[in-house]
Amino acid sequence: MKPRVAFFDFSSCEGCQLQIANLEEELVDLIEIVDVVSFREVMKEHSDEYDIAIVEGSIMRPMDEKRLKKIRSRCKVLVAFGACAAIGGVNKIRNQWSPEKVKKMVYGDSSEIEDNDYFDVFQTKAVDEVVNVDFYIRGCPPVKSEIKKVITALSMGKKPDIPNYPVCVECKKKENECLFEKDEFCLGPITRAGCDAICPTHGSACEGCRGLLKKPDIECISDVLKRYDLTYEELKRRATIYNYGEKVGEKNE
């Protein structure tokens, strides 16, 4: 029997699910190997009977947490889909401030949001800060090739082989001019590869959307930055976009 797959979204732009819709004619291939039982962006039907849950978005509220735990209890395999789900992503930028302060900044002193579950927010969490995650499809948005790789691997019962090295490896294979050589700033050396260095290939610096690698450590990065007249503060600032709260270049193991 084909595995039953359901898509879920939490706080996100839903652009990751759009990447699946963007598979276009290959969507037909997808539904040949899996039964999609729930996918808000492309179908009306919904079922709570599923084997694989593909979860997009970060977790912002107690009600999200409850919903996510229910999803986890119903599925055999849970996939964190996209940067918001896998690492918290841009939603974590707001963790710089307390939830109360954020609420006030956005809604002012309105009393209408008091005692309303929809507005009851806590600090942003990645999916694996709430439930156990079996696999990750990283990126903002994830690249189609990796979506296909993970889905085919799951339906064949194998563990997808996701790179555990920095973007530089793929960037070199693309024969891009190194952005550091052009005195530009790039998070490629400390960001997990798998995107085929899509941003540097198109002339933009890597922003770290696939998450930071555990190594190298801070002394090493600082040394490199100094050589290029860049600062560690700038590195941290850049990394905030997707990796707020991550210990940038610190040994966190």
């Binding site: 598979l23 290959e26 291939d29 997808l30 040949e32 190997i33 296909k148 790789k149 889905i151 085919t152 339906s155 064949m156 019962g157 194998k158 563990k159 082989d161 555990n164 090295y165 920095p166 530089c168 490896v169 070199k172 294979k173 024969e175 891009n176 001019e177 190194c178 550091f180 050589e181 052009k182 050396p189 400390i190 190594k215 190298p216 002394e219 090493c220 990065i221 040394d223 490199v224 050589r227 290029y228």
Partner: protein, 645 residues
């Protein structure tokens, strides 16, 4: 030297030559083009794009011989076993290769066209015409001058040298001469032109800003003298572990292999892609064990591979001094020139030979090497919770032709390949046995197969146990855990009626962690009943309530039971196969028994991926486990720092 003839060509005619080549549509014409502030080899649309006075390119032209991603074969997953090897494309002309890059390709020829020639590589190589150009303006980090790679007399089909407003054209091959004849308007060079070319080449050497102070010939012994130097640790502290140094290197040839399947799971392909020894997962095996885990060791490995291991194997330093790694490395710790200059006052007295074993593999040098042969699973028999015995039959009806101790690469299309030791003795039948432990994707997929299903087989690979050297000797087996799998192939072989008399007494010591992990219990008991064969079994610990009639304790506890008088040490051959941790202790016991080191044979396990000494994953110091091993004489490997870990 090949037919050497010197001609000249005006700049205008050179442009016309390039344009004609492009327009002929007979070749894919690539050459040096600018990309931002850098240069790259890329498809040429016209001669105007061609830059002959460049410093260096981001990637070397190795990408045309070993592409960053190369589709090796395609298969149809809906059919039982349908594999088609990919073929090469159109003939290609590469214009503008510097001498050091040409020398790098000559080195690559040695590696890829060594025993077990790489057919993809050879096809591309034969299909390519190389037009070199002498260096006008070297890259600031290039040190080719002190490596003797700033000019070359071989490896090219044509070589261009700028003399005044025209170019000298040195013909290096018949292919080159034919190309000139068909496409270019050249003149016979005057004596003065020939002199100018020679003078120009003589002067190239003076143009380099960097110079390596250690003589190329001394690299192996200087490095060998500094294997334990603190410099490795100091430098590697800054390493980003990105392997950019190996990616841009013209003499780094290691690759990884991945199976890719279409979204409808109907088709798939096997793709090889550049891998780098600086990456942590480079040596990771299916059980997630990483053999070269410390960045310091990986950092050192790269320099030793270039400056010591490959020189010992092939006779050349595998660095051509292009300086690309120096540019690509952000912390700037990858430059071999700078590194070797730290050792400029070291006496070249280190013993480089101890990192290398001069032993060829028992491999037939013919046929395709990457495409697996079709085979059928005849039966599957569960042995323990994690191990299953597979009976496999080659579909061509030919016997596998293995020696005890050799291994095969087992393919599950769409998933990948795994190296597995053959556990049955050699015979004339096309059927052989593998014991497979479920640890990774491939073995996991094998467990979900059923009799009648197809698998792919490549091999047998490597060296097995040396049967001739074992004849007329006592045999002492020490097997730990799944070490019994390759050992069984040899045990069953020597116990066969026709062979038994060739050997003296046989002792088999077999240790496992606990009773449920013991493989082939019934067979082991039967072996013990054969005259002059003794079997001793032990488990580290027997859980309470489990019935176990054999010994309890470590395998080393079994050694005191061996009667020394019966086992005249010099006439005993020991075969040791087990987990890495076991070797040290068992070998100590063998020494106590005064068994000479050269009588001890061990089998090592690493990430054997290609099986033919190309991909680089199983390398321990200068030794390829898949080629020189997996069975080694202990004396050969005891001093290899990376062997027993």
């Amino acid at each position: 030297m090949m037919v050497e003839k010197v001609r000249t060509i005006s700049k205008k005619d050179l442009d016309a030559f390039v344009d004609d080549l492009i327009q002929s549509d007979k070749f894919e014409v690539v050459g040096v083009k600018s990309k931002g502030k850098s240069y790259v080899f890329d498809d040429l649309e016209n001669s105007e794009e061609l830059e002959l006075e460049y410093d260096t390119t981001i990637l070397p032209p190795k990408k045309y011989f070993l592409p960053p991603y190369e589709n090796m074969m395609n298969y149809d997953l809906k059919k039982p076993f349908n594999v088609e090897e990919s073929n090469g494309g159109k003939p290609r002309v590469i214009i503008g290769m510097h001498p050091y890059d040409i020398i790098a390709i000559e080195q690559m020829d040695k590696v890829y066209q060594d025993v077990k020639e790489d057919d993809f590589y050879t096809r591309r190589r034969k299909n390519t015409i190389i037009i070199g150009v002498d260096i006008e303006k070297p890259f600031s980090r290039c040190f080719a001058g002190s490596m003797g790679t700033h000019t070359t007399d071989s490896g090219f089909d044509l070589m261009l040298t700028k003399i005044g407003r025209k170019y000298g054209v040195t013909v290096g091959s018949k292919k080159g001469r034919k190309l000139l004849h068909n496409f270019a308007k050249t003149k016979k060079a005057k004596e003065s032109d020939v002199k100018k070319i020679a003078k120009k080449r003589d002067k190239v050497k003076d143009k380099f800003e960097c110079e390596v102070e250690v003589d190329k010939e001394d690299w192996p012994s200087v490095l060998a003298a500094r294997y334990e130097d603190e410099l490795w640790g100091k430098k590697s502290e800054k390493c980003l572990e990105c392997s950019s140094c190996t990616m841009v290197c013209p003499t780094c040839y290691c690759y990884d292999v991945e199976d890719k399947v279409s979204l409808d799971l109907k088709d798939g392909s096997r793709v090889r892609t550049w891998d780098g020894c600086l990456l942590k997962d480079f040596t990771k095996v299916a059980g997630d064990e990483i053999f070269r885990e410390d960045v310091e060791e990986r950092y050192r490995h790269r320099f030793f591979r270039k400056g010591c291991y490959l020189p010992m194997r092939y006779g050349f330093v595998a660095c051509v001094g292009c300086g690309r790694c120096a540019r690509a490395c952000l912390p700037d710790i990858a430059d071999p020139c700078e590194l070797l200059n730290n050792f400029s006052d070291v006496d070249p007295t280190g013993d480089a030979s101890k990192y290398f074993i001069d032993r060829s593999a028992k491999m037939e040098d013919e046929g395709v090497i990457h495409v697996p042969h079709s085979a059928t699973i005849k039966s599957m028999q569960k042995l323990t919770e994690n191990e299953t015995l597979f009976e496999i039959e080659m579909d061509d009806g030919e016997p596998l032709g293995h020696d005890p101790g050799q291994f095969v690469e087992v393919s599950v299309l769409g998933v990948g390949e795994a190296p597995i030791s053959v556990s049955s003795p050699p015979d004339d039948s096309p059927i052989f046995e593998l014991v497979i432990r479920r640890v990774g994707n491939v073995t996991g997929a094998l467990f979900s197969k059923k009799p009648g299903d197809k698998v792919g087989i490549r091999g047998p690979f490597g060296n097995g146990f040396p049967l001739e050297e074992m004849e007329k000797k006592h045999l002492l087996f020490a097997c730990g855990g799944i070490g019994m799998i390759p050992a069984r192939s040899l045990i069953k072989h020597v116990l066969q009626e026709d062979y038994r008399k060739k050997f003296k007494d046989i002792t088999i010591l077999y240790g496992c962690k606990q009773p449920c992990e013991v493989l082939f219990m019934d067979e082991v008991k039967q072996w013990g009943e054969v005259p002059d064969v003794r079997c001793e079994l032990t488990v580290d610990k027997c859980p309470e309530g489990v019935c176990w009639e054999e010994g309890e304790g470590l395998i080393t506890d079994l050694f005191p039971k061996i009667k020394l008088d019966k086992y005249d040490s010099k006439n005993t051959v020991a075969i040791v196969v087990g987990p890495p941790v076991m070797y040290k202790f068992v070998i100590q016991c063998l020494k106590t028994l005064e068994i000479p080191e050269e009588n001890i044979w061990v089998s090592l396990e690493r990430r054997m991926k290609c099986g033919v000494g190309k991909c680089g994953h199983c390398q321990i110091n200068g030794v390829y486990v898949c080629k020189e091993g997996p069975v080694f004489n202990y004396k050969d490997v005891k001093d290899l720092p990376e062997a027993f870990r």
